[in-house]
């Protein structure tokens, strides 16, 4: 590497990075009945180690009831040419408490420690925002999507932090007429950011009332932003094809305009791109069929809770949290995805209730892929209140993490038989794991400017 900032000069360089030997995932007690703090778990992922596939340390949060959820690095490849920056801190917010925990993962990568906490009360009073979700760094600064205002009402906005984790204020100049916030991703060479819509915190936090979808309390749009002006400029109304659009991913290739979103309740994949006339367009490219269930009055929707693109942008992965399958699609032609792999774990269809000796409670939910594209890590909990509705046994069984080996040549997936982390056996009782990251960056952390 000829430069000394964090990350990699290009996605192709990132793919040559050493294998990830430590994994970080958050684990929650919020909503479980165990009165303990949520924590960041460190997992030994060195196959030659005696503690391979085990939790080797736990970094407890200072308070109870955060509901840790997503997390992000303080710096990524967008700072590659800035030698003053390093990928040292994970920002780990609590969706419910709005506390943002800054965790030092570099001083001792096997034992991360709390460096600083930005109190939710301070964020609310300084910015009138709550419920932090997605974190991206933009150069040496950090933006975080916040799903509500200080009272839990939509649409929230974007919290802007400097590199020392001080609150600058609101990042956006305008929310336009955006009704809801959730995930976002930006592609600076095209001066564009895309954001999606979940719902107001007061709507999604207590649990999922299906009827509220019909009352327009959940999202069904994607928003394109003028990234430099920090304001929305175009909306894709997805309608019934895009009910509850969650994770958004641009191609890692910084020159590409192609991107994808998983619409959870419609169980569709939405693809967008800019055409030769500089117009932004969208289409539905994958439609997961609902599945019959002997005890359900209506077929079960897949509920696509997450999507992810491999670093070379050749494969798209999606999870059907209620069905219980992870799918791999070749998207080299992004208009015409080809299903190349599928594995089952957990889910409501009873196709794979036990994997590697562990009863899988929940379904495949958050996923993270190794930089070389060969190992996919999957966890099973979605959100405490929603877990409690669809998979109530998760209270006693806890969540788990599994690894899926991915064929990056011909396509194909297979669950690794030697790797399983059972969070049902944690020392303080069953907890639930969610998003995963590792020290060298991963397939959802880095953006190239």
């Amino acid at each position: 590497m000829e430069c000394c900032g964090p990350g990699y000069s290009s996605p192709a360089e990132a793919m040559k990075a050493p294998r990830e030997r430590l994994l970080y995932t958050i684990a929650i007690y919020t909503g479980t009945g165990i009165q303990k703090p949520d924590y960041l778990a460190t997992i030994d992922n060195d196959p030659d180690s005696a503690t391979y596939s085990q939790v080797i340390s736990r970094c407890d949060m200072p308070g109870i009831g955060d509901e840790l959820h997503h997390m992000g690095w303080n710096a990524c490849s967008s700072c590659f040419e800035d030698s003053s920056m390093s990928r040292k801190y994970l920002l780990v917010p609590g969706v419910r408490s709005s506390n943002i925990h800054v965790i030092d993962c570099a001083t001792d990568p096997r034992n991360p420690t709390i460096f600083k906490v930005i109190e939710g009360a301070r964020i609310k009073s300084a910015t009138n925002l709550s419920a932090p979700h997605t974190i991206h760094c933009l150069g040496s600064e950090i933006i975080i999507s916040m799903l509500g205002d200080a009272n839990g009402e939509a649409p929230g906005g974007y919290l802007h932090l400097d590199k020392n984790f001080e609150i600058i204020g609101r990042w956006e100049n305008s929310m336009g007429d955006i009704p809801f916030s959730y995930d976002f991703w930006y592609q600076p060479r095209h001066n564009v950011m895309v954001s999606s819509e979940w719902a107001a915190p007061k709507t999604f936090m207590p649990g999922f009332d299906l009827e509220e979808v019909g009352y327009l309390k959940y999202g069904r749009r994607l928003h394109l932003w003028d990234f430099e002006k920090k304001e929305p400029k175009q909306t894709f109304y997805l309608g019934e094809d895009g009910l509850i659009p969650l994770e958004v991913r641009f191609h890692h290739n910084p020159d590409s305009t192609h991107g994808f979103c998983g619409a959870a309740l419609s169980a569709n994949i939405i693809h967008w791109w800019k055409d030769d006339n500089d117009e932004w367009l969208w289409e539905k490219i994958i439609d997961v069929e609902n599945e019959p269930h002997p005890e359900w009055p209506i077929p079960i929707p897949g509920v696509i809770s997450v999507i992810l693109l491999s670093m070379d942008d050749r494969f798209l992965y999606l999870c059907n949290w209620l069905h219980g399958d992870i799918r791999q699609y070749n998207i080299e032609d992004p208009h015409n995805p080809v299903l190349t792999g599928q594995v089952w774990l957990g889910g409501l269809l009873d196709k794979a209730p036990i994997v590697n000796g562990v009863k899988v409670t929940g379904g495949p939910q958050m996923i993270q892929l190794s930089l070389d594209g060969q190992r996919l890590y999957v966890t099973t909990s979605l959100f405490s209140t929603w877990d409690n509705q669809f998979y109530p046994e998760i209270r006693t069984n806890g969540g788990c993490m599994l690894m899926v080996n991915c064929n990056t040549e011909a396509g194909g997936m297979e669950i690794d038989q030697d790797f399983v982390v059972d969070f049902g056996k944690e020392p303080k009782g069953p907890s639930r794991c969610h998003e995963t990251r590792y020290p060298g960056g991963d397939c959802t952390s880095d953006i190239w400017i």
């Binding site: 009165q35 955060d66 509901e67 936090m205 207590p206 005890e295």
Partner: protein, 121 residues
């Protein structure tokens, strides 16, 4: 200061005197009762408890639908007692809080207050 007595049915009927003007989560925790909580603005349901007797003012809560209210749930981070009350607290009280929305849909009058229709129009 006006106070009311809170009886905790699933904590061996422990009784606690609390202010009528402070949220129950705050006053109970300050007296050493362990309670789950999250947002502290009445929206996230983590601190829900079941009211077995008495009345509270919880007009600031926005988390509960009418079925949950009908089943006695109150949001402790914003609820204030207006009489002596008896509560069942903690996750043990959540037996009727969660339901599979596909298997057990809500009737129109059971939705959240802002969208519910009257049961007997």
């Amino acid at each position: 200061m006006i106070t009311h007595t809170v009886t905790l049915a699933n904590r061996a009927n422990t009784t606690i005197e609390v202010s009528a003007h402070r949220p129950l989560l705050e006053t109970l925790r300050s007296q050493g009762i362990e309670l789950p909580y999250g947002c502290k603005y009445g929206a996230c349901i983590t601190c829900a408890a079941k009211l077995l007797n008495g009345e509270v003012d919880q007009n600031k809560q926005v988390a509960l639908n009418n079925r949950q209210i009908e089943n006695g749930y109150v949001i402790l981070c914003v609820a204030r007692p207006t009489t002596d009350i008896t509560l069942e607290i903690g996750v043990e009280s959540h037996d009727k809080l969660y339901r599979n929305p596909f298997l057990d849909p809500l009737q129109a009058h059971e939705l959240k207050a802002d969208i519910a229709t009257s049961k007997d129009p």
